[in-house]
């Protein structure tokens, strides 16, 4: 965080850079403010990149996936209604539970929280859109295409059936022939792109586009939750992405990452998977808890109790969640010492969770709570989640875990945590925010029915499973014997599942019904405190006609000027739009004071084009049509180039209409949203790099015999890579330094030099790897994987530097517009450092005998 604010003059009026330099053709002078922000009409709405549109797309798509996966769950329960049932055969059953877990985790929970985040963040922090709207749209399309690929496996009769955890060696091509596992790996990896782009998006949006005066401590509590979640996504998803790519490479190319005969290790997959899989649970839970922390104070009528406590708990939880992945692996024969350590770390999570729960309970005592439908779901959350949390602490105890692991006790626990900790808050949130989508209120009577059916059905279905598990029933079995004590319990569970489904059915019916017959919501129907309720529910696409100054954590309660007059007349920044561009205020990440005007993109085809290219690339890989992969990659490249080609906007200074501030457009500053976004991206890249490094170290540690026998990289070339990598680093550093006061000619030269140095580094690394046969051992294959990863980074770096040089050459850049170079320099430093790390590893491996 420190280097964001370094060498900047916080809060002061920025230097005027060039007086009236304006590349006006970018704007749409023929349109007024309303028209600029209008959603494109008709089918052209798919070009919209507005967070309001994209957020709703995420929510609706996610909910549809929720219904599909729920249907699968009902089929699974129907199969288990009676012992030795023949309703489904083993294969179908395995496909259904695999897809149930996969869809719920990857295509429902994460996208749903992204949907809420994308929709709510700008509204709650007083921005007109996210800072990277096109990235959000791109993520959505990747998610949609990925989801379609995964689901389409049913059409090809090749649905994945290896469990949502895809353990090797079961999921390798030896034990899972055909395409089923490939559908999973490729589809889910595509969908994960949406998660990591959302992480970058959320980090940059929350840190860089808050309303004037909204310091970090005045942010709505949900923003803290989402910020922590985004950082967790950035660190947690890379291990899974790496794992999936390694496994797909093993299936497709026969590389031996997990093959014991050639020095691979099945446990490596489990480590990589759970390094992602455990934080994933908290990634799902935290935003849901954040929504509870947002709604609860509204219904109590008083601010949240212990804001500081909650923030501290969130941060603690985010860190702790990375230290307990191995509690999914207690039965794999880990040493006793690590068992105890992971056990202790797992139980520690109870403390930050307890702090949050007690803050929620204490909030209830502050006033006279109203028992609305969202409030009922929140109470349901408290009841179910606390129970699930307590069984979670039980499961953290190793001896108990050895009995309960992979039994129905765990099924009960995880549904208590995920349904209690995510689905109930999500329904509360849907009831709470639905006036925002439709302008009408949902029925209280039907809401009560939905809640009680869901609550009773849920408990009936899943409480029984604790007992079923203690009675020894393992998970993931399609049939079970009749007389050993599981039949009655399963029958009740199935009954409960259908009652739960009936509750969801009531909710859906109410959603359909209320759009016509619901009571119009009016302005701020719940009496909420946060900015998204400033307008009457259906706020216009620009969110805020003028962005008001925020002086309180509960602006709508504490700032009477906001609610006293019509929302459109409230004073604030950027009421005027002389450039006819979509704009919002960019802020200092800590103080929230305005530092720049952010230019936002208008509707565009490029995200859809790039995502289609990506989808084509992935689908062609799946189908084994490799020339089509090249076409897909080319389309994606064209899309990205068109996306980033847009003339740079910085270099103009303008009055924002608030406190007489004159602010630059897209400031060349380390507090820029682009720079913060790049830090997020670099975080993801580092996590990817360390996942690979972890894989190598792990194999080196557990398979010493095979690593001994692996051929070594050529030291000379590794040394050469070290040298050229160091050169690339220095040039990157110079590029970043030069960005602010650049001479175009020199910086273009630097760009070309950087491309050359990076290419040299890549070539040297490639030569160092040449004597190693990646098919010989897993260790060798991981070496090649590291080389390929760094190669990909270098490819991006070269493309980027040449693009920057080209833009300067054709005159698309003005001398004061150094932001792209600043970003390139920062990326170049990260890429060069990772190349240096890889080269050092190769060098050490080369000289070690």
């Amino acid at each position: 965080m420190t280097d964001i604010t370094s060498d900047t003059d916080v809060g002061s009026a920025p230097k005027a850079q060039g007086t009236a330099y304006d590349l006006s053709p970018k704007g749409e002078p023929s349109k007024d403010f309303e028209a600029i922000w209008a959603t494109p009409p008709g089918w052209r709405v798919i070009t919209s990149v507005s967070h309001r549109v994209v957020g709703k797309r995420f929510l609706i798509t996610g909910f549809i996936f929720f219904l599909i996966a729920g249907l699968f769950a009902l089929l699974v329960r129907l199969q288990l209604l009676v012992p030795e049932n023949t309703f489904l055969d083993s294969e179908t059953y395995n496909q259904l539970f695999t897809m149930h877990g996969t869809i719920m985790m990857f295509l429902f929970a994460i996208p749903m929280l992204e949907g809420f985040a994308v929709y709510l963040i700008p509204l709650m922090i007083g921005a007109r859109d996210l800072v990277f709207p096109r990235l959000g749209a791109f993520g959505y399309w990747c998610y949609l295409f990925g989801g379609i690929i995964v689901l389409s496996s049913f059409l090809f009769d090749a649905a994945p059936m290896g469990g949502w955890f895809m353990y090797v060696p079961l999921s390798t091509s030896v034990y899972t022939e055909g395409m089923s596992a490939d559908f999973w790996l490729i589809g889910i990896t595509l969908a994960e792109i949406a998660s990591v782009t959302a992480a970058v998006e959320i980090i940059a949006a929350i840190l860089c586009s808050r309303a004037p005066g909204m310091t970090l401590t005045k942010m709505p509590i949900l923003m803290w939750y989402l910020l922590a979640t985004a950082f967790m996504i950035a660190v947690a998803f890379p291990p899974l992405i790496i794992g999936s790519i390694l496994l797909e490479a093993e299936r497709l190319l026969g590389l031996p990452f997990f093959d014991i005969a050639r020095g691979g290790d099945p446990l490596l997959w489990q480590h990589l998977f759970w390094l992602f899989g455990h934080p994933e649970v908290y990634i799902i839970f935290l935003p849901a808890a954040g929504m509870v922390a947002t709604m609860l104070p509204v219904f109590v009528g008083k601010p949240l109790f212990g804001y500081g406590f909650v923030v501290a708990a969130i941060v603690t939880m985010a860190f702790l969640s990375f230290g307990l992945w191995a509690h999914h692996m207690f039965a794999t024969g880990l040493p006793e010492m690590s068992l105890t350590l992971f056990s202790a770390a797992s139980t520690m999570v109870a403390v930050p969770t307890g702090v949050q729960i007690f803050c929620f309970i204490a909030t209830l005592s502050l006033g006279r709570p109203r028992l609305t439908v969202p409030m009922m779901f929140i109470l349901g959350f408290l009841c179910i989640f606390v129970l699930g949390g307590l069984t979670g602490v039980m499961l953290a105890s190793v001896p108990f875990n050895l009995q309960a692991h992979d039994s129905y006790f765990v099924v009960a626990h995880l549904h208590y945590v995920l349904i209690g900790g995510f689905v109930f808050p999500m329904f509360a949130a849907l009831y709470y925010w639905i006036p925002h989508f439709t302008g009408r209120m949902m029925s209280k009577t039907l809401g009560k029915w939905a809640f009680w059916l869901m609550f009773a059905g849920f408990n009936l279905a899943f409480f029984m499973m604790h007992l079923t598990g203690m009675r020894g029933m393992p998970r993931r079995i399609a049939s079970y014997p009749a007389d050993i004590g599981w039949d009655r319990l399963n029958m009740l569970s199935t009954l409960g599942a259908f009652i739960l489904a009936a509750g969801i059915g009531v909710f859906i019916w109410d959603v359909v019904r209320h759009r016509r017959k619901g009571r119009p919501a009016g302005r701020n129907p719940w009496g909420a405190a946060t900015l998204e309720w400033l307008y009457a529910p259906s706020a216009p696409g620009y969110n805020f006609r003028a962005i008001p100054r925020v002086t309180s954590r509960e602006p709508l309660w504490d700032q009477p000027d906001l609610m006293d007059r019509p929302a459109a007349e409230i004073d604030g920044a950027l009421r005027r739009c002389p450039d006819h561009r979509r704009e919002t205020i960019g802020c200092d990440p800590v103080s929230g004071e305005p530092i720049q005007i952010l230019r936002l993109p208008h509707p565009t085809w490029f995200p859809l084009l790039s995502a289609s290219g990506m989808a084509l690339l992935f689908a062609a890989t799946l189908a084994g049509v490799y020339w089509l992969c090249a076409v897909g990659a080319l389309i994606a490249l064209i899309g990205v180039t068109g996306w980033v080609w847009e003339p740079s906007d910085s270099g103009v200074t303008r009055d924002i209409g608030l406190d007489g501030l004159r602010l630059p457009v897209n400031a060349v500053d380390k507090r820029s949203h682009l720079y913060v976004g790049l830090i997020g991206t670099n975080l993801i890249l580092w996590a990817l790099f360390f996942s690979l490094l972890f894989a190598g170290l792990y194999l080196w540690n557990t398979q010493p015999v095979f690593t001994e026998g692996t051929a070594r990289p050529v030291e000379v070339f590794a040394l050469l890579a070290l040298v050229s990598g160091a050169v690339a680093f220095v040039i990157s550093w110079m590029t970043a330094r030069m960005a602010v006061r650049a001479n175009l000619r020199i910086s273009a030269g630097l760009n070309v030099f950087l491309a050359v140095a990076l290419t040299a580094t890549g070539l040297s690394l490639g030569c160092a790897l040449l004597p190693i046969d990646p098919w010989s051992t897993a260790f060798a294959a991981v070496g090649w994987a590291m080389g390929a990863f760094v190669g990909a980074l270098i490819g991006v770096g070269v493309y980027w530097s040449l693009l920057n040089a080209l833009r300067k050459a054709v005159g698309a850049v003005h001398p004061s517009q150094g932001l792209p170079d600043m970003l390139l320099g920062s990326f170049g430093k990260a890429a060069a450092t990772m190349a240096l790390g890889t080269a050092a590893v190769f060098f050490l491996a080369g000289i070690a005998t």
Binding site: S90, E91, N94, M161, G163, Y167, P169, L170, Y175, I260, F305, G306, F309, A331, T332, G333, T340, S343, A344, T347, A350, V351, T353, G354, V355, Q356, F358, I361, A362, T363, S365, L366, G367, L379, L382, C383, V386, L390, V393, M394, S397, V398, P399, F400, N401, L402, Q403, A404, D406, S407, M470, R471, G472, P474, R475, R476, I477, D483, I484, G485
Partner: protein, 350 residues
């Protein structure tokens, strides 16, 4: 605790020889041992309520974990009720509570619970994972979807499958391996589970404390017929166990009737011996379960069906239907009489 459920049956010829041997040795309760051996394989755990339950304790590990479970359930039940009461109190009152609520409820209470739990849990862990150098060693190897079991691999190396016979009150170290994918060895009544991972050997030391019939099952999803991968566990009195071990080492029982002899010939000429071993008849094959004492097992197909000729015949004729994804092909090309004789022969192997 299952003793009263074992019925006394008429002795058979094979058992009679054992009874004579039994009378010469010293045993704390010869009658009990005798009974246990007589009734071996008579009743499948499939017919016993709670034979696979962690609450039906028959082993040291399960016992200690049961105590832990009980205390955790009671303790956390109280905590849960307490929190719900607090929610109710907080709901009912309009006066703000102090920060001490969060300190005590959110930090002190969980910390206290955690420390207590960790102490108890670690002591149980240490007690249940203690290795005993004198323990009997049994190799268990998981296959898709059956269990290969070798008793005392360094000594007598008696090979059997899908049924684990254990002595009561004697520590046994199981060396767990896998031939193909990850499986997990779990007998809930006796001890916690341990994964069987290809390329590794995981050791699990268990001690049965009650005689009787129990059921174990693979707990790690292992493919198409994962639900059909279970096994029988019979805990015998120490004395009976030793006798069983001695007796079972021998070759398979001879075929004594014409149909059984014909069945044996079918076994040999149909290629069954390429995968299955019957000691004294066809030795050396290791790909499928050992069939030397198939008829004496309590169940068929890795703990899934009651052992009788009908099921054996159906199994041979259509394995892929009964256990999809199993390695064994369906032998539906055998003639009717061949199938009858083969199934009769296999069931006669005790």
């Amino acid at each position: 605790m299952m003793d009263e459920e074992l019925e006394i049956q008429d002795g058979r010829t094979a058992r009679e020889t054992l009874q004579q041997a039994d009378s010469t040795t010293v045993s704390p309760s010869p009658r009990e041992a005798e009974q246990a051996l007589e009734t071996l394989g008579e009743r499948s755990a499939l017919d016993i309520f709670g034979s696979q339950s962690t609450l039906n304790i028959a082993g040291y590990g399960a016992d200690r974990v049961y105590d832990l479970t009980l205390w955790m359930s009671v303790g956390f039940g109280v905590v849960f009720a307490f929190v719900m009461v607090l929610v109710w109190i907080a709901w009912a009152r309009n006066r703000p509570v102090g920060k001490w609520w969060v300190w005590s409820g959110g930090i002190v209470l969980p910390m206290g619970a955690i420390v207590t739990l960790m102490v108890a849990s670690t002591s149980v862990l240490v007690a249940t994972t203690r290795h005993d150098p004198d323990a009997l060693v049994i190799d268990v190897t998981g296959h898709q979807f059956w269990w290969d079991i070798v008793y005392d691999p360094e000594g007598i190396a008696l090979r059997d499958a899908n049924e684990l016979i254990l002595p009561v009150a004697r520590p046994v170290t199981l060396r767990l391996r896998s031939e193909d994918v990850i499986h997990s060895f779990w007998v809930p009544s006796i001890s916690g589970k341990m994964d069987m991972i290809p390329g590794r050997v995981n050791e699990l030391t268990i001690t049965a404390t009650e005689t009787g019939q129990f059921r174990g099952q693979c707990a790690e999803f292992c493919g198409l017929s994962h639900p059909l991968m279970a096994f029988e566990v019979t805990v015998l009195p120490e004395q009976a166990f030793e006798e069983w071990l001695t007796y079972t080492q021998g070759e398979a029982r001879d075929a004594a009737r014409p149909d059984l002899l014909a069945g044996r010939d079918v076994f040999l000429k149909s290629g069954c011996a390429a995968c299955h071993e019957i000691r004294g008849i066809a030795e050396g094959a290791r790909l499928g379960p050992d069939l030397t004492r198939l008829g004496a097992r309590a169940s068929l197909g890795a703990g899934m069906w009651r052992l009788n000729q009908g099921n054996v015949a159906g199994w041979i004729a259509d394995v892929q239907d009964m256990k999809p994804g199993a390695q064994m092909p369906s032998y539906n090309h055998l003639s009717g009489p061949d199938l009858r004789n083969l199934s009769a022969y296999l069931v006669s192997l005790k």
